[in-house]
């Protein structure tokens, strides 16, 4: 299906890489409770903050994109955690009450 192929984050990551853009990949690696996106879901981010895909229902993407910009700069992968019990929850928490861990790495 063309529509799905063009929205596939890994396909987009490769295309952006070929265009010479800096790319970071965020992946949901663990979930607890009612998490909006399953383990393995991807968000792909470029050096200018453009993004495709999702790691939540739009709740924490802003924070992940911010971290991804730093990952692109320093090349060091990071593990992020979001949830209602977390301090950051008040700012960018998951309204569904779940918790997620997101691994962010640079491509290349």
């Amino acid at each position: 299906m063309d529509a799905n192929e063009t929205l596939d984050p890994l396909t987009i990551a490769e295309r952006w890489m070929d265009d010479g853009r800096m790319v970071a990949l965020a992946t949901v690696v663990e979930t607890w409770g009612s998490a909006p996106r399953p383990v393995g879901s991807h968000l792909v981010i470029d050096g200018e903050g453009n993004f495709h895909g999702s790691v939540s229902g739009g709740c924490v993407e802003g924070a992940v994109i911010g971290e991804a910009m730093e990952v692109i700069t320093d090349g060091e992968p990071r593990m992020l955690e979001f949830g209602v019990a977390d301090e950051t929850a008040w700012r960018v928490g998951l309204s569904c009450g779940g918790r997620i861990r997101v691994y962010v790495e640079r491509v290349g």
Binding site: M1, N4, T11, V29, V39, Y103, V107
Partner: protein, 232 residues
């Protein structure tokens, strides 16, 4: 992530191969493992289990933490017969997230006008399936009830281990079909995997209702199979 690996991962996915992207969360090193590639020890066991279940997740092995992202090919439905049922089924199946292909050598049926936007092949199934063969992640739905068109793909579907094989036709039609498939060398157990009469028994009457029954049956086979953890 290694750029070379990203390319490899996308190539494997495009070729409908089951792969796992394995990342060592300690040092960030990663690799792509194809189903069947030998991996020793507890990590190898976890990888084999992940291929069976299709579930991604964290694994502790050799005092390290790994993330296994499992990429199984998207489920596909190959419909033999560009008939009235197929017009409804193709649209519904795409909404449900399946890749859909319709094959029918009868050019009067297989027209762009009747199947706008659908992957439609106006050719004999044995020729059409040469370029894109059936596999374990494909459902085969045969709805022409013409043996000349249906039999070859049904036989190939049983051999390929398609997760769903359905064939339209009355019990009498199916009894004759069973005889022909037996003559082709298929076992009774294999032939019994064919859903016939096709679809869930919901009393479907119209072509669109029959499409609902077929799609529901296909989803049931896809999801129950992965719950059982059966190897593809």
């Amino acid at each position: 992530m290694d750029p070379f690996l990203l390319r490899k991962l996308n190539t494997e996915r495009a070729a409908r191969h089951a792969v796992i992207h394995l990342t060592d969360l300690g040092d960030g090193r990663d690799r792509v493992i194809r189903e069947g590639d030998p991996v020793a020890g507890p990590l190898g066991e976890a990888i084999a289990a992940a291929f069976r279940s299709g579930k991604s997740g964290l694994v502790e092995a050799e005092a390290r933490q790994f993330f296994l992202n499992v990429h199984l090919p998207p489920a596909r439905i190959v419909i033999i017969g560009a008939v009235h049922i197929s017009q409804a089924l193709a649209k519904m199946a795409e909404i449900a997230g399946f890749d859909v292909t319709i094959i029918d050598p009868r050019t009067a049926f297989a027209t762009e006008e009747r199947f706008a936007g659908i992957d439609l092949v106006a050719d004999w199934p044995e020729d059409a399936l040469k370029t894109r063969p059936l596999d374990a992640y494909t459902a085969l739905v045969a709805v022409t009830h013409d043996p000349k068109i249906d039999d070859v793909p049904l036989s190939q579907a049983l051999t390929a281990g398609c997760f769903y094989v359905g064939a339209l036709g009355s019990r009498k039609t199916h009894a004759k079909r069973v005889e022909r498939l037996t003559a082709l060398g298929h076992s009774e157990a294999d032939i019994a995997k064919i859903s016939a009469p096709i679809g869930l028994d919901i009393g479907a009457a119209s072509p669109a209702e029959i499409a609902v029954a077929i799609l529901a049956d296909t989803v049931a086979h896809l999801r129950r199979r992965s719950l059982r953890g059966a190897a593809p």
